[in-house]
């Protein structure tokens, strides 16, 4: 066991980890940041996506010790400190882009990275970008819709919009 330190959601943190401890385990068990989920063991599902120094990373496929000192952003660091949802999070609620919520943290982290790279992605671009995030509940329809809406695009032909 070694103490490993990094910056997570703007705070300096440290916790014990073995050499084999994955970043996802470090975040969940070491820091108690359980918003990052683990949905598979083959780096396929994307529920564990976080940002490492601004890059999209599946935290189940990185050793915690390899990102010592890095700047990590997790789902817990997306909303404003007062709890106000980001535009993307709000769009997911407005357009019912989540059901059980398990894939949602990874989906938000991936979609946020997409919108930073490509502020107005097409439907096809969104589907392609999110190919590494599996959702079993929504059929992706409302996730695509939420990401398009968050980027200011008209989604009025894609079904019901939630009431206030």
């Amino acid at each position: 066991m070694n103490k490993i330190s990094m910056t997570v959601n703007g705070k300096s943190v440290s916790a014990d980890a073995e050499g084999r401890t994955l970043l996802s385990t470090y975040l969940r068990d070491g820091l108690g940041l359980t918003g990052t989920h683990v949905g598979c063991d083959t780096s396929q599902c994307g529920a564990c996506v976080v940002h490492v120094d601004g890059q999209v990373v599946k935290s189940c496929s990185v050793l915690a010790m390899d990102v010592a000192g890095a700047d990590i952003r997790t789902i817990e660091g997306v909303a404003a400190p007062d709890g106000t949802l980001s535009t993307l999070q709000q769009a997911f609620q407005d357009h019912h882009g989540l059901q059980c919520g398990f894939c949602t943290p990874g989906m938000i982290m991936s979609a946020a990275a997409l919108l930073e790279e490509n502020p107005k992605p097409s439907e096809a671009e969104i589907r392609h970008y999110l190919e590494g995030n599996i959702c079993r509940c929504t059929g992706y329809h409302n996730i695509i819709k939420a990401v398009m809406a968050a980027s200011g695009q008209d989604v009025s032909d894609m079904g019901t919009i939630a009431a206030e």
Binding site: C40, Q44, F102, I134, G139, Y140, I161
Partner: protein
């Protein structure tokens, strides 16, 4: 009506915690001093355990104790919740399902040892040091081979691998055969309903805890129905009385049926926590889920349709082999029988139906219900055989269906397969689907695709299903070992806010938003004043949980019933406060008033009086405002609808691409349209997944070849289209107070035949008329092979 009442697309309140990383799933729970469990599982599909030597492993760092079957000698096997009686009147064969393998292992993944250690890594390391001597035996995987006389037996103490041979309706068998003998046309098709894995994104987790202070066992588990787990595990497995056993199912990351069942790991953790006097936690990996979660479907069927010279359906005859796997999972026997045979009339007025099902044990993981459960298998047979009949007879599939539909004025309609449909309008949903999918211009789109070198086709599927499970007296007669009512307690607090305690469980369905809409609508207060409590047997009344699209139809009806009791009592209190007759009290927008006067008292005034009963009719009315209702349905509900799938086939590769998918459903009265649309999207995705990509494949030795997301092809964002969904053609359920029918499973039931019919249509339009059927999943390899075979 308040703005968040019935029919409003209210945003989901639970989303806030899920979107910010504040959900509390079972694996997010860590108890002080908890140990970790790792299961050593069988790597062979069938074998005799010669010896298990745990001595070296027990001495490994951090190992607390290693458990084997010997440690569970006192415990019962995992019970089966449904007894099917075969067509000769005999009960099904029901083998013991031990918590840990006793003497034999019967499928890859069968748990043999449970290693408890201070860390998960230590438990896994110790598993490597267990010396296991297993004599590998020949495995039986193929159902036909399993039924041969000289087959290897999965269970030595059973007479064969046949669980049951079921006939329905047995008395109709000869009449059905006679109808076929005399029919002008007979069409038949042999097909498989491919084996699936439910794969909710959250794998299963169990944490056992024992508190000597009150001698209470607590199990935190990923369950769709905590009370069912308490009943089954307490009464049949561990002999724990219910008042000493608490089951908590917090946020659950999807279920789709796979989290209904009582699993060995739950009993293990509950028991071991007491033995070791410390909490023990097990978290399934995805690889482990593939070999320990109940699988789904896996039917091999032959279906035949008899028609008269005018193309009226005369009879349906269906024979199925249904895979049970190595053990009977909790509700496995009911799926190919009562959830399948009773739907074989479909939306059609076919007068005679006979269904035969042989359920078979194999050396594979257990098979049980998954989204749709039996109804997708029935719908797939019906909609494929009708599609084939239309082609063979040279008639339009739309017209052939319309001609044979039960007409809107014929409801209630008694089918020849026991169930009575209360309502429906199949013509309306079909017309709506054809309109929304612009079916009239299909030929033009086919031509445009042809110019691009693509083969376009359109497939139709008209389904009806049975939800709102279920009338207890009826399912009792059919072999269910449980009642299937639902409960709600409406606990009104002194200042007027309300806690609704429900036996239903939300694992994505949005009950925390939709259930308050009902109460808000009935009382006329803001939905934000109402909260749902669910998922904990310590805080909720005994209820049967969430599956079979039952929550709104059954649980919602219980909630209406309980809320009506609240309103009745509140009116009595209001009458006292207003010094008026109870009969003159009206409730509107959260205010009680005396008819024809300006005297009124608001909701909070009444609720405060109920709990601070200074001015209160104590001689005739108890204080307080809390009511419980149990609702036992009078009948199943029957959602129905019509789906249209438009696809393109790339003739060079055989790859199928979905170009458009249209769903016109009749769910009865809809509480939250936004949530209902989401449920349809998800069901369609799973139905399309079954049709195009998903498949559990075992080799002949019983090794699972598709044991991870690398091999089992989950539909991804770029595999699916934008869906067009509609639920405007609704006919209210006639026998529950909401008129709601249920919407959770429809997509998974109706979608697969629409997809396959579309592929066959595309191939026929392109001249590949020799292709009669392609089994699911309709992969590029299968399509290409079908096109290029003669």
């Amino acid at each position: 009506m308040p703005k968040d009442g019935i029919g409003a697309s209210t945003k989901r309140r639970e989303d806030i915690r899920f979107l910010t990383g504040n959900g509390r799933y079972t694996d997010d729970i860590n108890l002080r001093g908890q140990a970790y469990v790792h299961f050593l599982r069988s790597e062979v599909a069938h074998g005799r355990i010669r010896s298990i030597d745990t001595s070296a492993a027990s001495a490994m760092p951090g190992v607390i104790r290693i458990f084997t079957a010997e440690d569970f000698g006192h415990a019962g096997g995992l019970p089966c919740g449904w007894l099917v009686t075969d067509r000769f009147g005999e009960p099904m064969q029901e083998p013991k399902h031990p918590i840990l393998a006793e003497g034999k292992v019967r499928h890859v993944g069968d748990p043999i040892c449970g290693i408890v250690a201070e860390t998960l890594e230590q438990a896994r390391d110790a598993a490597e040091a267990i010396e296991l001597d297993i004599e590998e035996l020949p495995a039986v995987v193929d159902m036909r081979k399993a039924l041969e006389d000289n087959s290897v037996k999965v269970h030595d103490d059973l007479t064969s691998n046949l669980c049951y041979d079921w006939g329905f309706v047995e008395e109709n068998k000869e009449a059905v055969n006679a109808a076929f003998a005399e029919a002008a046309h007979v069409v038949s098709v042999e097909l498989t309903n491919n084996r699936l894995c439910a794969n909710p994104m959250e794998a299963r987790v169990a944490i056992g805890d024992y508190d000597p202070w009150n001698e209470q066992h607590t199990l935190y588990t990923t369950s769709q129905n905590p009370h069912v787990i308490r009943l089954l595990m307490g009464a049949f497995v561990l002999s724990l009385p219910e008042h000493k056993l608490r089951i908590v199912a917090p946020d659950v990351g999807g279920g789709f049926g796979s989290k209904i069942y009582h699993y060995a790991e739950e009993a293990f953790c509950t028991h071991v926590a007491k033995v070791l006097r410390q909490p023990v936690k097990w978290t399934s990996t995805r690889s482990e889920a593939f070999i320990s979660d109940a699988h789904a479907r896996d039917h091999v069927s032959k279906v035949e349709l008899a028609l008269d010279k005018d193309h009226n359906f005369l009879a349906i005859r269906s024979t199925t082999l249904a895979n049970m796997g190595a053990y009977l999972s909790t509700f496995a026997p009911s799926v190919p029988t009562w959830l399948h045979g009773t739907l074989m009339a479909g939306p059609y007025k076919t007068p005679l139906v006979y269904v035969n099902v042989k359920a078979v044990f194999t050396n594979t993981v257990a098979v049980d219900a998954y989204r749709g459960a039996g109804r997708p298998e029935a719908t797939f047979q019906l909609e494929r055989i009708i599609d084939k009949a239309a082609r063979e007879l040279g008639v339009d599939g739309v017209e052939l269906r319309r001609k044979n539909f039960i007409k809107p004025e014929q409801f209630p309609y008694q089918t020849p397969v026991a169930v009575e449909y209360d309502s429906g309008n199949f013509h309306a949903t079909m017309d709506k689907m054809l309109e929304l999918s612009n079916y009239a211009n299909l030929d033009k789109r086919v031509e445009e695709s042809r110019k691009k070198g693509k083969l376009r086709g359109f497939g139709i599927s008209q389904y009806i299903e049975a939800c709102g499970i279920a009338p207890s007296h009826l399912v009792g007669q059919l072999g269910a070992r449980a009642g299937l009512y639902e409960t709600a307690t409406v606990r009104v607090n002194a200042t007027g806010s309300i806690s609704v305690l429900t036996g239903c469980h939300s694992h994505g369905q949005g009950h925390e938003t939709s259930f308050p809409q009902i109460v808000a609508d009935m009382i006329g207060i803001d939905a934000s004043q109402i909260d749902i409590v669910h998922g904990d047997t310590a805080t909720t009344p005994m209820g049967m949980g969430t599956y079979g699209s039952r929550s709104m139809a059954v649980g919602g009806s219980a909630l209406v019933k309980a809320t009506n009791k609240i309103i009745d009592k509140a009116k009595k209190i209001a009458a006292h406060l207003l010094e008026a007759s109870e009969a003159d009290i009206e409730l509107k927008d959260g205010k009680f008033s005396v008819a024809g006067t300006d005297k009124s008292v608001d909701w909070a005034g009444v609720t405060l009086a109920a709990y601070v009963p200074h001015n209160y009719p104590l001689e005739s009315l108890e204080p307080g405002l809390e009511e419980t209702a149990f609702y036992d349905p009078n009948n199943f509900t029957f959602p129905s609808g019509c789906y249209g799938c438009e696809i393109e086939v790339d003739p060079d590769t055989g790859k199928v691409e979905i170009m458009a998918f249209t769903a016109a459903d009749d769910f009865g009265v809809v509480i939250n349209p936004m949530i209902v649309e989401g449920q349809v999207h998800g069901g369609l995705a799973q139905g399309i997944g079954q049709a195009l990509t998903e498949n559990c494949v075992y080799d002949e030795n019983g090794q699972l070849l598709t044991g991870s997301f690398m091999d089992y092809t989950m539909p991804r964002a770029d595999d699916l289209p934008v869906f067009k969904v509609d639920h405007s053609c609704f006919t209210p359920c006639t026998h529950n107070p909401l008129g709601a029918k249920g919407c959770g499973e429809a997509g998974a039931i109706g979608a697969p035949p629409a997809v396959v019919n579309a592929v066959i249509d595309a191939l026929h339009r392109a001249g590949h008329t020799h292709v009669q059927h392609i089994n699911m999943p309709v992969t590029p390899a299968r399509v290409w092979a079908a096109m290029n075979s003669k």
